[in-house]
Chain length 159, copies 2
Amino acid sequence: MDADTLDHETRLGEGDHEALRVWLRLLTCTNLIEAAIRADLRSEFDVTLPRFDLMAQLYRHPEGLKMGELSQRLMVTGGNVTGIADQLETEGLVTREAHALDRRSFVISLTAAGRRAFAKMAARHEEWVAGLLHGLADTERHDLFKLLGRLKSTIKATP
Amino acid sequence: MDADTLDHETRLGEGDHEALRVWLRLLTCTNLIEAAIRADLRSEFDVTLPRFDLMAQLYRHPEGLKMGELSQRLMVTGGNVTGIADQLETEGLVTREAHALDRRSFVISLTAAGRRAFAKMAARHEEWVAGLLHGLADTERHDLFKLLGRLKSTIKATP
């Protein structure tokens, strides 16, 4: 801890320090869960998290998504969207159609086989997540859900 | 919602659903805060989040870190560790020295200028995070901190 830091830190109030500690803990929890899910997807389905994430977004939009919309909706980083979509198309899990109004852009959607494949993974994914949170009491899980909801709206309300 | 999913979902209990909702909310909050910090680092310091993250790890280890240790400690993904380290070296913010015991590996550490540069960014970073969480009451922030601590130890205890 050098003099610079001490100066900066003493200028901040106790609540500010705790805010930073909340953020680091939030990030740590996210990283731990993400790593566990990544490993489970790999070992059980030989699938990457970005691929699972991409299929999840398409599953929620049966009408299909444009490439750009799809990229914006992804929850995890690091995947090559075009590469994953190409691969899924080769495997018959997605189709690509010209957009009805904008002929230059394509709409991607899951095929019936793609929906079935995703539903199977999603069910296991839900079990893994439940397993990771299993050590929390019902009230703790519930309070955490509520507080994260408060956090989410607070962040969104920040200018 | 197709038949497959309904089947899977009805097999799960209410708590399992909530666990998944907690995870998605956690991920959303992490993504929102990360995006805000990314934008602030960019506009105020013209620095990427992976670069900030890398400097943060080195700041916590004044004795320096081997390249491999550094990669493992990073909290965010998507950065090119070698590329960032090269760039920081060019700017005189890190040094690279042969490891005392293992001459084939290098130890990277922040220079005095690097420590000063990071301390300045870290202080602003703490203010940004405090600003993002400002809408939470003290008790909410405190309860969230405690519950995330419970979540963290629960995940780590999961086999």
